[in-house]
Symmetry: D2
Subunit: 393 residues, 4 copies
């Protein structure tokens, strides 16, 4: 039996890996991002305009897409996945980062935050998946640690993994619980730095955002040397909002685009991960997390009752700070010098959401329910009408 | 001596009253508001497009403007005041309203919030003044209550007034402590419903916002009967932001307007009072307060380190709920039906800030430091350039 | 395969059921509780002196005890379980209760609290298990709901189950992940009102508390009719503390009892569930949760860094309040009349912890590591020495 | 006029100074503290067993006692005062300390906490006074800074002073507003290190605690060198509780002492200041503040609805950390090594409350209302009965 299951898992992994490889290829080579379409954003991005511009961060995805047609709970269709954000790459538990979090509207889950709040540290990766798979992902992160032998058998340690989610049950057989531990391991093990895929990938696979196909998006800002030269990066899993509220570059484009999915309510959610290499203490990182709504507001969010809008911010500075014995010297940026980081966070959030929408592709899921990608050309026309289209660099 | 001081106070009051009358007149008769200039906003305002559209709310101001030229601490110039928001009019302490609050960036003061958080009630008015006069205003609210004999002498009761502030020390001799108890009494006693003055009035007298003259602004939304028909109103004391970040109707107009006050940092602050007649419980009112940043983001706020961005929301429903004896039946809107209120709050905040700026007039204060009003005509031209100017109704 | 697994599960269930039956029998018939030993507590308990004195509450356990000797990860020894607290019995999701929570020291997990905080409601049971099984329990609660067909297939709904934990890895093969979905189903399905088992049961099976065997404990207070007649009940999963700090009836007995487990640090945790039938709103229930530390302090807690001390309080009043359409009339006890509930909460917490310790029996787990039950007779002698032993009623 | 008022102020100051001198003398020379009576407490105090054992901390009082008989609002009787805790002595604003706060029951005021929470720093002294004088004390702290010329006239700075309170309106003409700016200045200017007065002094002058005379109390713990050697000190202004709940050394002595003031409700309040020289970051200091209830629970608190139980903790380590330019290296104790500080905080709180009660002397106030000191001899007899009286060292 065990052998059989292993073979199945191996097959599955092969499929996943090939999907991811393909997705990455597409992303890296041909898919335009928001700026490529001439959408204007403020601030100067890092080289990748992604969370991976923050040195050491790796991102991994497992994307699960299979089946079609009618819903058979437990069989599909499957349109879901797992995203892993690794603050210090594969050093998953050895060197926790300082962190803070904020919930704008808590109709969602981000496990592990009670300890983040108390300790000031994020001890492991940030995982994002669908709403009904938070549990399996959480325990699998612990299992990953057990299997990687970080601790002697019998040692007294415990893990409180941070796992967040947004709901994909309109496209995905969410109650079929298709996310398995091996998908979690793959997301972690395949994580890498460099350019990252956006759109229908990882936990963002089955998302809907402002009436169009949503998903995973990212952006970064590289501060001017006069403003310290730090980098801020954001990764967002975008699943919130109504079309009529969508604003891009400040223009209420949602009303002028041809109709996507109409919603009576803002059910959905958005998870935002903010990363920086600036040396911020936990209470300062919470300040970054609290700026996320200022960016979301620009895109048209009003954070509806059904939306789980939960944000976490961490800093890759202060390596070694967590080590449990002896007083540490940790670096702290004065509050008075945080301002460029606040602005950068707002700008990254604004752009990461639009990047997710621009990258996402039309998807058909349960009962042939189809969510269209935002129409790029029409969007450009609307922005042009408002003199808000720029020439891409 | 006493007689002499009384006469002085009487004189002062006369001056204040005439100033206010004048201000109200100007406001009511001729000053355009943002919509009058053709600036587009979403949603349908109430008849007054002000916080006073929420039945029973009264607003009063004491505006103190005197002296000019060089700063002599204790003598002037004086450019400050007091604003009073009375949830149930002159029934100041007899029938507290349910309330919740949120601090986006706590570089400011809103006294009394610990009890708001704990009890779920706001027991008295919301007062707003300058940063260094919070104390005198706070104690004077208690004194007002003592003088109005609400309680028998010797009765055991205590007051924990809610008093917020923003900083006006660039225009006003803030360390001269010019706000006195009588100014607090006047703001309360002169409060009224109906149209309210905006701009350089009350606590908002000496404000600076996004590089131009700031001040007090208000807006409201009347929900469609299908969405319950409730009203949301906002009053904001606006003192935050940089010119280069200012966005109006989504357009980054700040960069195209001729230069106002240049700031290296977002020192300032904004206090926002959200009021509604919807029957919301305290934890639901906190949800409204947490939506304020979504509106501020639209205007260009990134909530700088020096900004005290603190918000309180209350509901005028559930009269009698506070009465200390016996189980009460209180009305509660389901969370699932709060969504239109969230959107209305975001819309009101976006507009109230712009209303404050449009109403504010050029002011000269300490050492002839002058803060210009935002240039209306030029603003219209910029919006026209982006096809974002509409015909006022 | 499926058949084979089903049989195994059936066998396991049979074993579990018999264990529980036995445990309940022992508990109900012969095991003394703290008061039976003459330990004095303040206040008047309800008939059962348990959380089930609050009308409608049901408690269910799955207790997993198997294997012995050396640790083989994945094989055992197993000393763990699952506890289910059902606020309205088997109406698990149809009629959520108002709730609030508080984390004294967040080195632990209580999933779902972000939504409790936001919505003011607890939508389902409170589950408690070991630290590394929170995930499987969480997803299984959703699965239970799916299997019980509360919602049409394809309906848009999502669950955010509340699952808490304490660590049992010193006695239990915690990294073997022995808790399975069927154990979760059993804990829910077997839940009942009436007298409840204490000590080594459910999630509390492998606990250690103040140097002796810990576990699950409960207590209640029935308020005097003059004080409203409401009931407060507490259930605690007790796993915290050092022996030297243990205080019973105010006496530092820990230092006089023969040595149990010595700890350098207060690793452990305590989860406390507070229930009442008093009509409290969410912000008032948080006030109850915040009183838990006042009770823990009496037993000698100082809430060490490694302790996950997380508390949730709910009210069974206001049935129907959650229903999503239309304004509800909900009952609210005035803040001014909450005082007896505060005192009752403190008293229940103090007693529930001691009840857990008195009921717990000596247990041997991994590598024959043995944790002794607190010695009843010696404890009585110490209390006698301090004139603090009373005649049991 | 000015001359006249100055003379009056000078007279008043002379009276105050002599009262304080007397009080200090009495305190230092003859008044027993709790340990002197043989009441047992855990842990090892510092040399002074007071908050001033933390290097650099200074405490100052202004005690206002005048008049007797019937209440004439504005005339007296006066039984109130002001307490100043200066974290770095007279360097009041130049070198802010890291800080955190917690409200157990927010029926009270601690102004300035929004900025403490946001910035992680306490920028100035902690002041404590009566409930209706928070405002005058707050503004006077700013005035003190203005008068001491820390900043150039016209410089842009603002102050958000931390001022807490408890209610003394049963003994004191609280609505007469007898605390004036000069009393605030005196409390600050007269602050000193060394042994500090306890009982009816400063803000604690008119307090009532557990049915007896309350007031100001202090205690400290000096950790063993193996546990780092840090010091924790506590100062508490104690005004809460019912006699029947009073526990000393774990014994419910309140019920056995002859009757003091009977209360139907726990109106009152307690403010606790926790200080340490351990290098803790803001989020860690909040952890100390959250331990205060564990100590209060031991003394019999259940934190009634009317009680404002608000706590602030700060660290004198990391001098220079606040300086606004450039990245700072700050020292941080690992969370894993905080445990002895948690225990010390709990122990200090337990003892400081009892020290306040033991030091407080019988006081007669409004309408000859008299609050008796806790009877020392009778208390010793009760403790003896329970074998809980020890031989003082």
């Amino acid at each position: 039996m065990l052998a059989h299951r292993t073979i199945q898992a191996a097959k599955l992994l092969a499929i996943i890996v090939s999907m991811i490889a393909l997705a990455s290829l597409v992303s890296a080579q041909s898919k335009p991002r928001a700026r490529d379409l001439g959408i204007p954003f403020d601030g100067t991005p890092g080289p990748l305009n992604a969370i991976t511009d923050v040195q050491g961060i790796e991102v991994g995805y497992t994307t699960l897409i299979s089946g079609s047609g009618a819903l058979k709970v437990g069989e599909g269709p499957v349109r879901t996945g797992v995203t892993a954000v690794l603050p210090r790459g594969k050093n998953l538990f050895g060197d926790p980062v300082m962190a803070g979090w904020y919930s704008l509207n808590g109709n969602g889950e981000m496990s592990g935050t009670t300890w983040v709040e108390e300790s000031g540290f994020l001890e492991g990766p940030v995982m994002i998946t669908n709403t009904h798979s938070v549990g399996v992902v959480r325990d699998a992160v612990i299992q990953w640690r057990v299997q990687h032998g970080a601790d002697a058998p019998g040692a007294v340690w415990w893990g409180l993994p941070v796992v967040a989610e947004t709901y994909d049950g309109e496209l995905n057989d969410i109650n079929g619980f298709h996310v398995k531990p091996e998908h979690v391991f793959h997301a972690i093990d395949s994580a890498a730095g460099g350019a990252i895929a956006e759109g229908n990938v990882g936990g963002g696979t089955g998302m809907i955002c402002h009436g169009f196909k949503g998903g995973t998006g990212s952006a970064s800002r590289k501060l001017d040397a006069n403003d310290s030269g730090y980098t801020v990066g954001v990764l967002a899993q975008c699943n919130y909002g109504k079309q009529e509220q969508l604003r891009i570059a400040g223009i209420p484009v949602g009303r002028e685009l041809s109709p996507g999915i109409e919603r009576k309510k803002d059910q959905g959610s958005i998870i935002v991960v903010v990363a920086t290499d600036a040396p911020l203490l936990p209470h300062q990182l919470k300040r970054l997390a609290r700026r996320v709504p200022l960016g979301l507001g620009r895109d048209g969010s009003y954070s509806g009752n059904g939306s789980g809008d939960i944000f976490i911010a961490f800093s890759t500075a202060n390596s070694g700070a967590w080590e449990p014995k002896g007083v540490k010297q940790v670096a702290m940026l004065p509050n008075d010098e945080m301002e460029p980081l606040f602005l950068a966070t707002v700008q990254c959030v604004e752009e990461a959401v639009i990047n997710a929408m621009i990258a996402a592709e039309t998807m058909t899921g349960i009962n042939d329910f189809t969510v269209r990608a935002i129409p790029h050309k029409q969007l450009q026309e609307v922005l042009q009408k408002y003199n808000r289209l720029v020439t891409p660099k």
